[in-house]
Amino acid sequence: MTTIQSALEDELKRQSFFKTLSLFDWLWSLIIVLGTAYSYSQYSSLMDIYEKLILVSTAVSLIALGWHWKAIRQLSLAIIVLSLFGISRYVTGLADVETDFFLKFLVSSQSAIMWMSALYVMATVVYFAALFAQSDFTGKVASAMTWSATTMGFVGLMVRWRESYIVGADVGHIPVSNLYEVSILFSIITALLYLFYERRYETRALGGFVLLIISASVAFLLWYAFDRDAADIQPLVPALKSYWMKIHVPANFVGYGAFSLAAMVAVAFFIRARAEEKNSFGAVSGAIPPLDVLDDLMYKSIALGFAFFTVATILGALWAAEAWGGYWSWDPKETWALIVWLNYAAWLHMRLTKGWRGKPMAAWAIIGLFVTLFAFLGVNMFLSGLHSYGEL
C-alpha cells in the first residue's frame, strides 16, 4: 500500500464520529436508555402508541443532543438526580412540603421554581457586571448561574408533573398546560438557546441582554403565581387531554425563545452599531461581538425559531383537526400564530433573497418580538376564542 493510501486509511478511521465519543458519553447514554426503559415498563399501560413514540423519540433526541453539545449530559444528569430526589421526598402526600426540609426549601416544584427565578435574575446582573468589570471570571459565574437556574427550572417542572399526579390520578398531566407553566418553559428554553450560542460564538457579552427577557418572563410568572394563585395545579379540560400537547407546546416555545433571543441580540446590535459609528467603545459596546457576527447570530436564531415554529403551527393545526373539527378556524390564537409566521417568513425572504442586513433587519427582529409577545400573551389577555387556556 502506498503512503497515500495508508495515510488515507488512518485519516478515515480517525474522523469517525463515534470514535470521538468518550466513556462518559457512552455511560450517560446508557443511563438515558435505562431510564427510558424503566419509564416505559412502569407507565406503558397509561400511554397510547403516540405517547410511547414520543417517549422513545425524546430519548433518542436527547442522546443525539448530548453527544453534540456535551454540557447537556451534565445538565440532564443533574435534572434527573434532583427530580428523583424531590419526588422521593413526597411520602404521604402534598402536605409533605410543609414538613420536609428539602421539599420546603429546595426541590418541591415551587421551591425549585423560586430558585430558578432568583438565579436567572442574579445571572442578568452578573452578566452585565462582567461586562463592566471586563472580568472573565465574573462572566463564568454568570454562566454557571444560568446553567443552575435552567437545571432548577427543569427540576421544578418534573416535580410538578409528579405533584399533579399526587393531586389525583385523573388530574395528572405534563406541566405545559397553562400560562404559568409555559412561562417557566419559555424561560428555560430561551436560556438553553442562549447557552448554546454562548458556546458556539464563544462570547458571554450577550448574556445580560438575553437574560433581560428571561427576567421579564420570571417577573411575570412570579406576579401570576402570587397575585392570581396560578401555581395551583388544575385538572385538564377534555380538549387538552392528548399526546399533541407534548409536542405542539414545546415546539412553539423553541420558536418563541429563539425569536426573543434574536430580538435581544438586535438590541446589542444597535449599541455596538452606535459605538462603531462614533468610533468610541465603552465596556459594554467593546465587549459585544462585531456587527457581522451579531447579524449571523440573529439569522441563525430566527431560522431555528422559524423552523420549529412552522412545525409547532402545523402540529397545532393537526391537533385542532382532531379536537375541534377543523385544522384552521381563524381563531385569534391561530390567526396570530400565522401573523408571527408571516412576519418571520418575510424577514427571512428579505435576508436570503434580497440580501438585507444590518440595522433594518435588527429593528425588524425587535418588532418581531412584539408581534410574538402579542401572539403569546396579548391574545389571551385581550381577545377571546377557543384557545383561552391561559387567561389572566
Binding site: P238, Y327, I339, L342
Partner: protein, 662 residues
C-alpha cells in the same frame, strides 16, 4: 407593414413577460404577506360572526354599515381577502415556475467545466505538489470528500483529473418544497373554506336563516344538498334521538346542511372532576346509511372523532336534551289562584294564565348538579343540587329570566329556597330567599304572602283581632283599619318602597318622617298579627310566646315578601321533579381540501429544514500531472453561511494535509 406586425408581437410578448415578472416579484409577495397579516388582525380584534344586532349596538348605525360593506364581520370569507389569497397562490406559482428549473440545474450541476485559474484565484484555495501517483491522489480526494458528506463526481481528460464535490443539494429541493407547499395549503384551504357558499349567496341562491325555528320548517333557500363539497357545522342530538342534518353558522344566521346518512345517539356519558368541571365525555353513535348492510357503531370522545364516508364527526360539546320538568306553581300576586302543577320540558314553551293575563313559560336549561366552593371545614366543594333555568314572558313580549334551585340552601342558621332573577343575559342573577318552614317546605311562606293580598281577611283581622276597642264602629277606627289593610296590601305588592311612595304621594314633606314611622309600626303590627294567626291555624301553641326560630322566619319572610314586587313573574315555579335527558353536541365536517393541506404541511416542514440546514456547498480537487508527481488544487465555495463554510473548509484542508504529507 412587416415592422408594425413584429412590433405588435414584440409588445404583446413583453406584456406577458411584464405580468409574469410582476406576479413573481419578491415585492409583490411581501406586500401580499403584509396584506394578509393586516386583514387577519382585523378579524381578531373585531369579534367575527356575531349577530348583527350586537354590532349595531356596539358601533352605531353609521359605522355598522361601513364595516358591513367592507365585510369585516366575516373577514376571512370576503371577496377581497380571498382575492389576496388567490394572488398569493399565483405569485408563488410563478415563483416556482421561474426558479424551479434554475434550482434543478443547480442541484445537478457539478461545475465540471471549472478552470484551474478560477480555482487558484478563489478566496478559499490551497495547493500542494506531491510526488505520488495521480490515481492515488484522485482516489484519496474522492474518498475524503465523500467522508465529509460531499457527493463527488470525477471528470478526466488527458491533461487533468477533476473531482467535483457538492453537499446540500437538498436546500435547492427545499426551496421547491416550501413554495409548492404554500400553493397546496392555500388551494386546500380555499376548497375547505366557505368561498363556495359565498358565491352561491352572491348569486342569490342562498339566504341564511336567522330565526330559531324547527329544522323541518326552514325554507329551501337556507338548505344545502348533500353534494356540498366542504362544510363545517354542528348538531345537538338528544339521547335516543337521530339527526340527518346539521347547522352551519353563516354570517348572522345559519344554513341547514343535509347529510346522506343519519346519526343516532344511543348513549351519552360524562364524568366530572370534584370541582364540577367536565373531565371527559363520550357518545355512542350509530350511523344509519342505506348503503351499509348494518348500522355502523362507534364511540367518540373529545380528540377521538369518527371518520365515515369523507365526513368527520367530532365530540364537541354537550347540553340538555330536553329534560322533563315538573313544576309546582305558587301564586305570588294572583290571590285568586291556587297552587298548581305544570309539566313541561327543557326547550318547550308552555302558556299559562295569571292575573287575567297570558304568559309564556320558556324552559331553557336544566342542570343536574351545581358545585360551589364549600363553606364547610375540610370539604373543598359541595353539590347544592339541581337547578332549572327559564324565562317568563308577558303578553307584551318582555321577559325576565329565572334560575331556581331544587333544594334549599343554608344561609347563616336557616334554610332558603333560592330563586334568581335577571332582566337581561348581561346581568348577574339577583336572588330571592324564600324561607323554609318547620315542615321543610314553603307552605307557610306562601300562605303568609297570600293572606297579605286578601282584603276581606285583612279587614276582618284588623277589626277584630287587633284591638277590641276598634270593633266599635267609629270613623277613626274605620280609618285606622283602612290604613292597616291598605298598607299591608301595598307592602305585599311593592314592599317598603311602596310604603315610602305612598307617604311621598299623600303626606306633606314636613310630616313625612313622622308619618313613615307610624306607618312602619302599623305595618309591623298587622304583619305580626297575620303571622300569629297563621301559626295558630297550623296548630302551633303560642301560649308561651313565639320561639326564636319562628321569629327568625318572620323576619326572613317579610324581607322576601317586601321584594316580591320586583320578582316579575306572577308565579313562583318550584322544581318538584325531573327526568334528566342529555344531548351530545357534535361537530360534523367535510374537508376534502385536507388531502392537499396535509401533504403540503409535510412538504413545508421538510423544505424549511432542508433550506436552513443543508445549504449548498461545493468543493473541487484539481489534479494535474507535474514533473515529479502531481499538482493538486483544493478550492470551495458556498452560496450561504459563508462563515460556517470557511470553518468546514479548513477542517477538510487539514485532512487533506495529513493525508498528502503522510
Amino acid at each position: 407593414m412587416k415592422n408594425s406586425t413584429s412590433n405588435q408581437l414584440a409588445s404583446r410578448r413583453s406584456l406577458a413577460s411584464v405580468l409574469l415578472t410582476f406576479l413573481g416579484s419578491m415585492n409583490l409577495a411581501i406586500t401580499l404577506l403584509l396584506a394578509v397579516s393586516i386583514a387577519a388582525v382585523i378579524g381578531t380584534v373585531l369579534q367575527q360572526n356575531q349577530p348583527y344586532a350586537d354590532y349595531i349596538i356596539k358601533f352605531g348605525p353609521f359605522w355598522f354599515e361601513v364595516f358591513n360593506t367592507l365585510g369585516l364581520y366575516d373577514v376571512y370569507s370576503t371577496v377581497w381577502f380571498l382575492l389576496i389569497l388567490v394572488f398569493l397562490v399565483l405569485s408563488t406559482t410563478v415563483c416556482i415556475y421561474r426558479n424551479a428549473p434554475i434550482m434543478i440545474r443547480e442541484m445537478t450541476n457539478y461545475g465540471e467545466n471549472i478552470q484551474l485559474e478560477t480555482l487558484k484565484s478563489s478566496a478559499l484555495s490551497t495547493q500542494w505538489t506531491i510526488s505520488s501517483n495521480a490515481d492515488d491522489l484522485v482516489h484519496a480526494a474522492t474518498k475524503l470528500l465523500k467522508h465529509n458528506g460531499f457527493s463527488a463526481r470525477l471528470s478526466e481528460t488527458k491533461e487533468r483529473s477533476l473531482v467535483s464535490g457538492m453537499k446540500g443539494a437538498g436546500s435547492r429541493l427545499g426551496y421547491i418544497f416550501t413554495h409548492v407547499a404554500i400553493v397546496l395549503i392555500c388551494i386546500g384551504g380555499l376548497i375547505d373554506g366557505n368561498a363556495a357558499l359565498k358565491f352561491r349567496e352572491m348569486a342569490g341562491l342562498l339566504i341564511p336563516e336567522t330565526q330559531n325555528i324547527p329544522a323541518n320548517e326552514i325554507p329551501e333557500i337556507s338548505r344545502l344538498g348533500v353534494a356540498t363539497p366542504a362544510f363545517r357545522g354542528n348538531v345537538s342530538i338528544p339521547e335516543g334521538g337521530q339527526a340527518n342534518v346539521l347547522f352551519i353558522n353563516y354570517k348572522d344566521g345559519y344554513l341547514v346542511q343535509n347529510l346522506p346518512f343519519s346519526v343516532e345517539l344511543k348513549d351519552f356519558r360524562i364524568e366530572h372532576y370534584e370541582s364540577g368541571m367536565p373531565k371527559s365525555f363520550e357518545s355512542d353513535l350509530l350511523i344509519h346509511d342505506k348503503r351499509l348492510a348494518k348500522p355502523l357503531e362507534q364511540t367518540i370522545s373529545v380528540n377521538h372523532p369518527l371518520i365515515y364516508d369523507g365526513y368527520s364527526i367530532y365530540q364537541a360539546s354537550f347540553n340538555d336534551g330536553g329534560s322533563l320538568i315538573e313544576f309546582t306553581s305558587w301564586p305570588f300576586s294572583d290571590v285568586a289562584a291556587d297552587k298548581g302543577v305544570i309539566n313541561t320540558a327543557v326547550g318547550k314553551n308552555s302558556a299559562f294564565t295569571a292575573n287575567d293575563k297570558n304568559w309564556i313559560l320558556e324552559v331553557s336549561d336544566f342542570r343536574l348538579f351545581n358545585i360551589n366552593p364549600s363553606a364547610i371545614e375540610g370539604k373543598k366543594y359541595e353539590n347544592v343540587g339541581p337547578s332549572v333555568q327559564f324565562k317568563v314572558r308577558s303578553n307584551t313580549g318582555e321577559a325576565k329570566e329565572y334560575l331556581n334551585y331544587m333544594l334549599p340552601m343554608q344561609r347563616e342558621d336557616a334554610y332558603f329556597y333560592l330563586t334568581g332573577v335577571r332582566s337581561s343575559p348581561a346581568e348577574e342573577f339577583h336572588y330571592f330567599h324564600i324561607p323554609v318552614d318547620d315542615a321543610g317546605g314553603i307552605d307557610r311562606f306562601m300562605r303568609f304572602q297570600k293572606k297579605l293580598g286578601e282584603e276581606a281577611y285583612l279587614r276582618d283581622l284588623a277589626q277584630n283581632k287587633l284591638d277590641p276597642s276598634l270593633s266599635l264602629p267609629s270613623k277613626e277606627s274605620a280609618q285606622i283599619v283602612d290604613a292597616m289593610v291598605r298598607l299591608a296590601m301595598i307592602f305585599k305588592s311593592n314592599g317598603f318602597e311602596g310604603v315610602v311612595s305612598e307617604v311621598e304621594a299623600n303626606v306633606p314633606e314636613d310630616k313625612r318622617e313622622e308619618v313613615t314611622a307610624v306607618y312602619v309600626r302599623v305595618l309591623q303590627q298587622i304583619l305580626g298579627e297575620v303571622y300569629v294567626d297563621l301559626l295558630v291555624e297550623e296548630g302551633v301553641d303560642i301560649s308561651e310566646g313565639i320561639d326564636p326560630l319562628k321569629t327568625a322566619f318572620f323576619d326572613d319572610a317579610t324581607a322576601a315578601i317586601s321584594a316580591i314586587g320586583r320578582y316579575g313573574s306572577p308565579l313562583y315555579f318550584q322544581l318538584k321533579d325531573f327526568e334528566h335527558r342529555q344531548a351530545s353536541g357534535l361537530q360534523i365536517t367535510k374537508s376534502p381540501g385536507k388531502n392537499l393541506v396535509y401533504p403540503g404541511c409535510t412538504l413545508l416542514i421538510l423544505g424549511v429544514f432542508l433550506m436552513f440546514y443543508a445549504p449548498q456547498r461545493r468543493l473541487w480537487v484539481f489534479v494535474q500531472k507535474a514533473e515529479k508527481g502531481a499538482e493538486i488544487v483544493l478550492s470551495g465555495t458556498a452560496v450561504r453561511n459563508n462563515a460556517d463554510f470557511i470553518k468546514e473548509y479548513e477542517i477538510i484542508r487539514d485532512q487533506f494535509n495529513r493525508v498528502f504529507k503522510g
